[in-house]
Amino acid sequence: MTESSVNKLLNGDSCRRTSNGLKTSKNGFVKNHCLLQQPHKYRRPRDKQPHGSCEALYKKPFVESFEETPLMVAVLTYMGYGILTIFGYLRDFLRQWNIEKRHIARERDEQKDFVPLYQDFENFYNRNLYIRIRDNWNRPVCSVPGPKMDLIERSTPNYNWTFEYTGRVLKDVLNLGSYNYLGFAENKGPCADAAIEATQAYGVGVGSTRCEMGNLDIHEELEQLVARFLGVESSMAFGMGFATNSMNIPALTGKGCLILSDELNHASLVLGARLSSSTIRVFKHNNMQSLEKLLRDAIVHGQPRTHRPWKKILIVVEGIYSMEGSIVRLPEIIALKKHYKAYLYLDEAHSIGALGPNGKGVVDYFGLDPKDVDIMMGTFTKSFGAAGGYIGGKKELIDYLRCHSHSAVYATSMSPPVAQQIITSMKIIMGEDGTTLGADRLRQLHENTTYFRRKLHDMGLIIYGNEDSPVIPMMLYMPAKIGAFGRQMLKKNIGIVGVGFPATPIIESRARFCVSAAHTREMLNTVNISDSWQSKYVRRLKYINETLTYYK
């Protein structure tokens, strides 16, 4: 897409700017005061690019694609679910009348006259669809989950109701499921040595919370390092990433506040928002017009019955959404936030360490000022090879959270070897240990991402998400394909994660690849998805155009 075609509105006018930045229509009247103007005519769906007024906010092209489900595939997927539902009813009938042995959880005879416990769709789906293919999940890993791992082989005598170990171990299975973006999940090297020294100095358990006796000097060092890494005034580290979100949002907002959260936010953000008892409104995924409309409505109408102004408005978004592979439109959100005076909570669980020229996350990727984001949250699980979460922001905010957050007051503080692992890996990424290891890993991750995405796209598979995100969901759509794909890949010694309902919409099942800096090109070349999947749904014309430009 060239810049000129994006700057023109689709009815042929080009964007003309008035002196104060508002857009005019043909006869000179200002259309409306919306910051992000919606195009008037029908756009070709699913090619999401920033339009007209906000093109200037993005320094490099923002290419995301969420190709639509082909109609035939959607029909066949529904048909497949229909057939499996009929067989599910048949099996439930047989179990009810004791014709076949029952393995499932069921109510006791005394409870039969009460409200049924297992009759809803979730339980039906669980016992008739999920259990049939559940040998693709919860596979026991018996080595370091690095670029390659060892799995314990399991067999099942009764179609996945129970499992037994065969005694064999599958060695060197290529690991495309672990969130190991920079390859720090290893048991040798400077991080592991430093963690061993920390264990010998401090032990493993802390035995107290941060507020009582659990505040070690290694925690202080970690927090100062994290604040320096992110470019904020101060930060605080917690022992668990989920608890960071769910326990800190209630400390920040309460009754009388408004939370605007993205459609596809993670369960920890949703739980934290619900626990805070604020009003929650949801905007469409990464859709800035929807967010702006909600902001305008909230400010104009105020709280629901009394119409008083909201105490605060908090916009909650994630850096990279792990099920879609999409990156948040941060420049536009920051422009909106400043215009409407709201606060921004950015959850960089997957993007810290993985995006940006210096690995400093999505703020670095877009080249923005970290001080514009009020609360920067992230986890250490994904790129740093440890566990835990952090929150960074202004000093007053972090001091407030140290006293008022449930996680700080009640949860045990981070274990010292884990904290040391984070300190060492963060220093490597920043380049402060004196080697170029960090820069090499960042570059390798970027190369692997581009190469793998290109490779899968050239095969004609539908890939969701942004071009730069290391999370690559590949669409499978049909329920039987999730199970079959997982098993076939394991036979070829590749371990992947298949995702279906309820984590995704019911017809959009996918397999999710997570590339790592520790993968080499030979490892990625072994992933050869043959034509037997018939998953190559990309529209023929686009596929042909791509191959022609590639071979030119």
Binding site: M79, F87, K481
Partner: protein, 80 residues
């Protein structure tokens, strides 16, 4: 994808059928039930079409030729 012989190609087609209809995840006895039902329905459709389609096509052609068959001669005589 190159298939060495017809057998391999048929096995691939059967695998695609299992994946698309979702039968792949079912136990063997459920697969047999579904396959036999589907096979008997298809057999009945083929038999019915074999018995009735030629008769219906012939009747339809007769109907249409009778409706338009008388026309051309009468309009020609009117015009000349």
């Amino acid at each position: 994808m190159n298939f060495k012989n017809l057998r391999e190609y048929l096995a691939w087609l059967y695998y695609q059928y299992l994946l698309i209809t979702g039968i792949y995840v079912l136990e063997p006895w459920e697969k047999s039930i579904f396959n036999s039902i589907l096979f008997s329905v298809i057999a009945m459709v083929i038999y019915t079409s074999y018995v009735f389609v030629p008769i219906h096509v012939r009747l339809a052609l007769e109907f249409f030729t009778r409706m338009f068959g008388g026309q051309p001669e009468s309009t020609m005589t009117l015009m000349t």
